[in-house]
């Protein structure tokens, strides 16, 4: 199980890094989203993995997993939404301002027009 989680974090990070390095804003946003997943799961994993022991107190629970990383990750998820939203909108505004979605706003080659119906 640990191997699965660790490799998942690795795969999401790798995919995120690759996309973040692209030349257009939209893949960068997607890459950031993937990296957020990776980071959140990574932080969550700092409490180690447990199955069927949610940190909700009940009389007959066998034990509880570590609630602290969960609390921290919960707000992190919401904040990452805020960040992703801001980045998406920045990409949108930049595109509307300059008519290109290249990250440098100055593409090395002429912009390929998107497919028209």
């Amino acid at each position: 199980m640990e191997l699965l989680v660790a490799s998942a974090v690795g795969i999401m990070t790798a995919a995120g890094v690759y996309l973040v390095l692209r030349a257009r804003t939209f893949p960068v946003v997607l890459g950031l989203a993937l990296m957020t997943y990776a980071v959140n799961v990574f932080l969550f994993a700092m409490g180690r993995l447990t199955v069927n022991l949610p940190p909700v107190l009940t009389a007959d629970a066998a034990g509880y997993t570590d609630p602290l990383p969960q609390a921290l990750v919960l707000t992190a998820i919401v904040i990452s939404f805020g960040m992703t939203a801001v980045v998406v909108v920045m990409a949108l505004r930049a595109y509307l301002e300059s008519d290109t979605d290249h990250v440098d706003l100055a593409p090395s080659e002429p912009v390929e027009k998107a497919d028209r119906p």
Partner: protein, 952 residues
């Protein structure tokens, strides 16, 4: 205590001039002067003790971990300098009141002056070399402001910049030197460092330290080859020149030479570096001064020369020479300040300070002429004025100093310097004041108001009194200061005007005769000077600066070429390299924690996640597909959370996922749907390698953590959740109670993010973005049925249910998975569905909710909960809870943290809705279509009413 106050007073007082200038120039000057008078009075309080040989100390720990403490101490040397800085500062303040014209902003001038004064006093009273460095840099900065005070003059600006570059650059070397010094001594406190001279001189770091500190001192005190900035700083108003270049700024370097004398002096390196530089500077600058036609230029080079003289004395390394240096500091400060002031008066009254245009002023302005000539005589070293005594002492020291085995070199050079010195001092007197009055002065000169000549008169009085009674007036101070400089190694020192028939007297006579002869044959000397080479420091400096700027621009433009991809790649690569460096720097054992067994379902989830990542990477050019792929990954993550005992996270992640995907799709409506192929193969390989390395690193790190045991602080939260927080869902209790402050900050961040989105898109409705929007043509085929009946009906029916679920999740959050964040997202999704089903405008008209107000309300509610706790006498955000019995419902637990959660809920709803609604608004602007009037395109209940116009 009062020591720190002496330093602080000028800084505090710097606020006054700007305020009081409204009450007039006199009030402004009076306030400024009284600040200095107060500081001076505080200093005088300590004077008797210091003259008895005591050291006054005061201090507080500031950053003890760094060795930076706000320690001050006052000994003889500090007293001497602080007295000069404050005393001459006071005279300058009075003088400047008359010097500055109506047009000059006087408040600004006095503010700068007091800042500078505070920085200087700080330098001389600091007992901590780090603190000293802070003040040292402040003197560079504030003198920059003072020199560039006449900002309309290009010369002033350039001079200020040059002074800043040279002294600031030296300051950097000084920082390095001081850090090394502190390293060697094991303390940054001066009083400790001063006692560890032998230890420091024996250290291999002594030489680099010495060199660095000397660069700092020589730049500040304008020693060759850094002397060139000082004459250019003469573009400043004369009071500034008089202050900075007689008593303060340029003496800071000298001060530090004196301060560190017990630690650094006495070695051969010290002698050859310091004494030689000083001697060479003294002779060279004196020679140049003789041929300067600008009054202030002459004085500037003369200042450089005298600084060289003092440097030379300290460089000799003998206690007697150091004492002579200390005495000359006093004498130079008095006569040079007076000379600068009288030059300012001449300039002010005649309209020029070009020597060939002057002459004969003795008859027109006798008071000024008398003052200037007495001061000049002291500068020339003519008895019975104070300059004569210290110059005699210098010559006496020089006469006994061999240089590299040559006994005649130093005495000869010192005499030559003295000859030049006499010549330019006499020139100042003769060419300006003697001779017949001329008819062609730019202005008709006369003696100015008493306030204008009184400050130099005070100084000239000192020149005479110290000259006549050196032992009675300056003796105790010089002894106290010299004692401090030499660390008590001073032999019996007494100051006399008449030393008897010594070699020094002979040299003085030679200098007087030689100087007079030189001035007598000034025309010949001038011709010879003209014929000689004139390396112009300013051109060299300008060329060097231009090259430096070009080089740095080249480096910047090469490194910083505007390609964000490259920056990011460099940053990521650095992270990978640093991570690897940290990893490879130690041995690693495999983890010992028992791992969980892999369940088949988990394997399926993993495959879906990996597939989603692969799809997103491989097909990222098809953006719609990539969004779907990324959301699949998100979905897997949330199921994973659920599986791994984190129901709250699962709920949050899945609702965030929905909102994020909707937002991305909305943005994609405007953005191109496909990414063009641009990256070269090599670029893709590079990025791929980087990505794999980063992934392996992060994954490996995660693996390493997961296979190791740990200890957690969560036991406390688990134990206290019910008794302390009144909730069984520990995650929620942590969020709203234990770490409520964090959450409070986080909802504020979320609200700000939403407002930032609002602002970004509001801006898009103006300027080029608006033009693009106006000319917008949809690039996707549009559904013929834009508001399908199925969706409208379904969302409409589900809305109350969804809202109920939201409220339920909110209320139960304290005891079961749920809470404000999740409830907020659920409700937002329900509302967004309405927009999606019936269109933005139709829905917005029916949901007249001010989302930005909702954000504010949420934050206020959350904050009010916290404040309520404070009203109750508890710390901010302390939760209270109680059990209430409600009819029918039974025992219900109410916690104030629930109200806090409501605030979280409101903020989340407001932020999400604001962001999405704002993007939707853009769509409305770009669609160029009238809004639908009905909730759906085809309403079966009223067949006649259709929102879309029939194209036929």
């Amino acid at each position: 205590m009062s020591l720190a106050l002496i330093v602080l007073l000028p800084f505090l007082g710097a606020l006054l001039p700007g305020l009081l200038i409204r009450s007039g120039r006199n009030a402004c000057a009076t306030a400024t002067a009284s600040v200095t008078v107060l500081a001076l009075a505080l200093l005088l309080v300590h004077t008797p003790a210091v003259l008895r040989g005591e050291v006054v100390q005061a201090g507080w720990d500031w950053l003890p971990g760094l060795g930076l403490n706000a320690n001050f101490f006052l000994d003889g040397l500090g007293l001497l300098f602080a007295g000069l800085i404050l005393g001459i500062g006071l005279l300058i303040i009075i003088y400047a009141r008359f010097y500055l014209s109506e047009k000059d902003p006087m408040g600004l001038f006095y503010t700068y002056l007091l800042l500078f004064q505070g920085a200087m006093v700080g330098v001389v009273l600091s007992d901590n070399i780090l603190l000293l460095l802070v003040f040292w840099e402040l003197t560079s900065l504030s003198s920059f402001l003072l020199i560039g005070y006449w900002r309309h003059l290009p010369a002033g600006r350039q001079g200020a910049r040059m002074a800043l570059v040279v002294t600031g650059g030296g300051g950097l070397a000084m920082i390095a030197g001081m850090l090394l010094l502190g390293q060697m001594a094991g303390s940054y406190d001066l009083s400790v460092i001063l006692e560890r001279g032998e230890q420091i001189q024996a250290s291999p770091l002594y030489l680099p330290t010495l060199l660095l500190i000397l660069v700092g001192c020589f730049t500040k005190s304008a020693q060759f080859p850094f002397h060139f900035w000082l004459p250019h700083a003469m573009a400043a108003p004369t009071p500034v020149s008089a202050y900075l270049h007689s008593a303060t700024m340029v003496k800071a370097g000298i001060f530090l030479l004196a301060r560190l004398w017990p630690v650094l002096a006495g070695t051969d390196v010290w002698f050859y570096l310091v004494a030689t530089t000083g001697l060479f500077t003294m002779v060279l600058a004196a020679g140049i001064a003789l041929f300067k036609d600008d009054l202030k230029g002459l004085l500037a080079y003369s200042t450089v020369s005298h600084l060289g003289l003092v440097t030379f004395l300290f460089g000799l390394g003998s206690p007697m020479a150091a004492a002579a240096g200390v005495f000359h500091i006093i004498n130079h400060a008095t006569f040079k300040a007076a000379l600068f002031m009288s030059a300012g008066i001449v300039d002010h009254e005649t309209g020029t300070r070009h020597i060939p245009r002057l002459g004969g002023l003795m008859h027109l302005m006798p008071v000024t002429a008398t003052l200037a000539m007495v001061a000049a005589a002291s500068m020339a070293g003519i008895p019975p004025f104070n300059g004569f005594i210290s110059k005699e002492m210098m010559l006496e020291q020089a006469a006994h100093t061999p240089w590299a085995g040559l006994p005649w070199l130093v005495p000869a050079a010192a005499t030559l310097g003295a000859v030049f010195s006499v010549a330019y001092a006499l020139r100042y007197a003769v060419h300006v004041f003697w001779g017949p009055p001329r008819a062609d002065y730019p202005r008709r000169p006369h003696d100015p108001a008493a306030g204008f000549w009184l400050p130099p008169a005070v100084l000239v009085a000192l020149v005479v009194i110290i000259g006549l009674f050196p032992e009675q007036t300056a003796g105790p101070l010089v002894r106290a200061a010299a004692d401090a400089v030499t660390g008590g190694a001073l032999p019996d020192l007494h100051l006399y005007l008449w030393h008897g028939l010594t070699p020094a007297l002979g040299m003085s006579v030679v200098a007087l005769l030689g100087g007079a002869a030189l001035l007598w044959r000034y025309g010949d000397a001038w011709a010879r000077w003209r014929a000689g080479p004139h390396p112009e420091a300013k051109t060299m400096y300008d060329a060097a600066m231009a090259r430096l700027v070009a080089a740095s621009q080249y480096i910047i433009h090469t490194l910083h070429n505007g390609a964000l991809q490259r920056y990011l790649a460099v940053m990521l690569a650095s992270a990978v390299v640093l991570g690897y460096a940290a990893f490879s720097g130690a041995a690693h054992l495999p983890g010992t924690r028992e791992t969980l067994e892999i369940f088949p379902v988990a394997g399926v989830l993993w495959l879906l996640m990996a597939g989603g990542c692969w799809l997103a990477v491989a097909h990222h050019r098809q953006r719609l597909l990539a969004v779907v792929a990324v959301s699949v990954v998100g979905l897997m993550v949330s199921i994973g959370f659920l599986y791994l005992s984190a129901p709250d996270l699962a709920l949050t992640q899945i609702s965030v996922e929905v909102v994020t995907t909707v937002l991305m799709l909305l943005a994609l409506y405007f953005l191109p749907k496909r990414t063009p192929e641009e990256s070269s193969g090599a670029r893709r390989v590079r990025d791929g390698v980087l990505a794999v390395l980063a992934g392996v690193g992060v994954g490996g790190l995660c693996w390493a953590v997961l296979t190791r045991d740990f200890s957690t602080i969560s036991g406390y939260y688990l134990d206290q959740a019910v008794p302390g927080g009144g909730g069984a869902n520990v995650v929620n209790v942590i969020l709203v109670d234990f770490r409520g402050f964090d959450t409070f900050g986080e909802i504020i961040v979320l609200g700000i993010a939403a407002l930032a989105i609002y602002a970004l898109l509001e801006g898009a409705l103006r300027g080029p973005a608006a033009a693009h929007l106006a000319a917008w043509k949809g690039d996707m085929p549009r559904a013929a049925d834009r508001h399908p009946i199925m969706m409208v009906v379904a969302t409409r029916v589900m809305l109350p249910l969804a809202l109920l679920v939201g409220v339920y999740i909110l209320l139960r959050g304290h005891n079961m998975p749920g809470g404000g964040f999740i409830a907020g997202l659920v409700v937002s999704i329900a509302l967004i569905m309405q927009y999606m089903a019936s269109g933005f405008q139709w829905a917005a008209r029916r949901m007249a909710v001010d989302y930005d107000a909702l954000i504010g309300l949420g934050v206020l509610v959350a904050g009010a909960t916290g404040v309520a706790a404070m009203v109750g006498g508890y710390p901010f955000l302390t939760s209270a809870h109680d059990y209430v019995h409600l009819p029918w419902v039974g025992e219900v637990e109410l916690a104030s943290a629930m109200v806090f959660d409501v605030g979280v809920f409101l903020t989340v709803v407001g932020a999400v809705m604001l962001a999405l609604a704002q993007v939707s608004r853009l769509g409305l602007v770009a669609s160029h279509e009238p809004a639908n009037e009905g909730p759906m395109d085809f309403d079966p209940s009223t067949p006649a009413r259709t929102a879309r116009r029939d194209p036929s």
